[in-house]
């Protein structure tokens, strides 16, 4: 059994801006080497959480540790071991400086040894397919290229923890896919811990090992992505293919009070049932006991979108 130590530990972290509590006593841990996703609508408190973790903001209550360093007690050490891609990262480069100059400046600020700087920049820019454009002013690059350059900046000093705020926002699907691939390959290659803010559900579903859902500054839910997808379904679709008696199967299903909707498609009925983990076997039993021959009884895969909407709708921790 592999035990993953926690790289980021957040305890009771709170940040207020006047009357607004942007982050409200949040608590969760991020395992070393994992990709953790913080999901939530705009204004939920995602960016504030990242700003607190990279010590840009000082919490009003609570604290967090990054690789053992407390964000209040040791902010400089925290900044040394974290790489940050701010919100709208592609707009946070020095537009008049070349890509190379942007990276060289930050490499020095992050204390990358002088003799390692050229090699490190070349390695990253080559990896991101930007080496040919290293002398172009950052402002003349496309949005996708700028985003990858901003990612290079975050990765320059080989940080233990990467805090990425909406890494694929404002990117076209091809560029977004490329950035996701880069994150996954870096995570695999260097074992770095990634903390990703996103409101893109499919992105989080594809990349993250664990997720938390935040809304109005509160963590509504957190846990393993796969587990949450299945555990937190209040209702679920089942696809049932039958031999002959489609009408009869539909009538039986409709008569059950936990079935909330029903659709017929050729030889299949698609039913939505409440409390699926209790009622799915009851549905099957009801159909079989009345002579329906079932060819297929398949659970429609739950998506994070379903989970997300369920949780946001209920607005409370489960």
């Amino acid at each position: 059994m592999v035990i993953k130590l926690d790289e980021v530990v957040i305890s009771g972290l709170t940040k207020k801006f006047d009357d607004l509590t942007a982050v409200d006593h949040i608590e969760f841990n991020v395992a070393k080497g994992s990709i953790y996703g913080l999901l939530g609508p705009n204004g939920a408190g995602k960016s504030t959480t990242i700003r607190l973790l990279c010590t840009l903001l000082r919490p009003d209550e609570g604290t967090a540790t990054v690789s053992g360093f407390d964000i209040i007690e040791s902010p400089v050490q925290v900044r040394e071991i974290t790489g940050v891609l701010p919100e709208e990262g592609n707009h946070t480069l020095y537009q008049t400086l070349s890509g190379y100059d942007n990276l060289e400046y930050f490499a020095r600020l992050y204390d990358v040894p002088e003799d390692e700087i050229p090699g490190r920049i070349e390695e990253l820019l080559t990896f991101m397919d930007l080496w040919e454009r290293k002398d172009d002013p950052a402002g003349e690059l496309s949005t996708g290229n700028r985003q990858r350059l901003a990612l290079c900046r975050a990765l320059l000093h080989k940080p233990k923890v990467l805090l990425l705020d909406e890494p694929t926002a404002a990117l076209d699907p091809v560029a977004a896919k490329r950035v996701r691939k880069l994150i996954l390959s870096f995570s695999e290659k260097y074992g770095q811990t990634f903390f990703i803010n996103s409101h893109n559900l499919s992105e989080v579903q594809r990349m993250c090992d664990k997720i938390a859902i935040i809304d109005e500054g509160k963590i509504l839910l957190s846990g393993d992505t796969q587990e949450l997808r299945t555990r937190f379904k209040t209702s679920q679709d089942f696809r049932i293919r039958v031999v002959d008696d489609l009408e009869k199967a539909g009538s039986i299903a409709e008569s059950l009070d936990f079935v909330t909707s029903l659709k017929k498609e050729a030889d299949t009925i698609v039913v939505t049932i409440e409390d699926p983990f209790t009622n799915n076997s009851m549905l099957m039993q009801s159909l079989l006991s009345q002579g329906i021959k079932i060819v297929e009884f398949a659970e429609e895969e739950a998506t994070l979108e379903d989970l997300y909407l369920d949780v946001i709708k209920e607005g409370g921790a489960k």
């Binding site: 700003r51 903001l57 000082r58 940050v84 480069l93 020095y94 537009q95 400046y105 930050f106």
Partner: protein, 250 residues
């Protein structure tokens, strides 16, 4: 505190500021304005009537020295505005603050990025004025007189740097209240106007073509002390206010 990091920030700020046309041409234009005004005045005096010109040159020098200083320190506010508000406007502040730079290193870096070019401009203006005056005086066979003279040099080399520190400090304080560089330029312009006054006070002693040099000395020392108090108090306030939380929240 690592000074090399502050120098790194200052160098990057200067490099970036020089890419902004308004700052680049502003620096060249303003930098040239002081010595040109100084030398044209000296030339008119000396070539008009060399005997009288040389006699009243020390008084003219006392009047013009504060003007030379005022012009040379204006770029400090332009560069400071660009280095502070410009970072915010260009969204580059957040990644910069995410680096291991300490608040103090960043503050010193921002100060140096304005201080170094403004001091270079001030010293350059003085040097060009002195050399130009030497050439003009030699061309009419007159004895060399320092323009700016010793009282003026004292004022420029003491009140000048302290005023630059004051301007940068005030820029740090107002940067939290303005969102755009042009707003900062406007505000800094007003700030410079406030600081013009103490530099102009020595000129008020003028009468009948000459000034009382004792009075010039006295007012130059008072001006220096005023700028010193302003610089010390605004710098102390800027150090207190300059932190990540306020910069990001502002």
């Amino acid at each position: 505190m690592a000074l090399y990091k502050s120098i790194l920030v200052a160098k990057a700020d200067l490099k970036m500021a020089m890419k902004v046309k308004m700052v680049r041409y502003g620096l060249i234009g303003i930098g040239a304005l002081g010595p040109i005004t100084m030398l044209v005045t000296v030339a008119l005096m000396v070539y008009g009537d060399p005997v009288i010109g040389v006699l009243i040159l020390p008084s003219i020098s006392a009047i013009l020295a504060p003007m030379l200083g005022m012009i040379a320190i204006i770029p400090a506010s332009m560069i400071a505005a660009n280095a502070l508000v410009g970072e915010k406007e260009m969204n580059t502040l957040e990644p910069l603050l995410s680096t291991p730079l300490t608040d103090r290193e960043l503050l010193i870096g921002k100060l140096l990025s304005s201080f170094i070019p403004s001091m270079a401009l001030l010293l350059g203006s003085i040097l060009v004025s002195e050399i130009g005056t030497f050439i003009i005086l030699r061309s009419v066979g007159a004895e060399f007189i320092l323009v700016p003279g010793i009282p003026g040099l004292f004022l420029l080399l003491t009140a000048g740097p302290t005023l630059i520190v004051a301007i940068v400090s005030i820029m740090i304080l107002i940067s939290g209240r303005v969102k755009r560089v042009y707003e900062a330029y406007q505000t800094s312009g007003a700030v410079v106007m406030v600081f013009i006054l103490p530099m102009m006070i020595p000129t008020m002693t003028m009468g009948a073509g000459t000034v009382d040099m004792n009075s010039v000395w006295m007012w130059n020392i008072i001006t220096f002390l005023i700028t010193l108090v302003i610089a010390a108090s605004t710098w102390a306030l800027a150090v207190r206010k300059f932190n990540r939380d306020t910069m990001i929240s502002m």
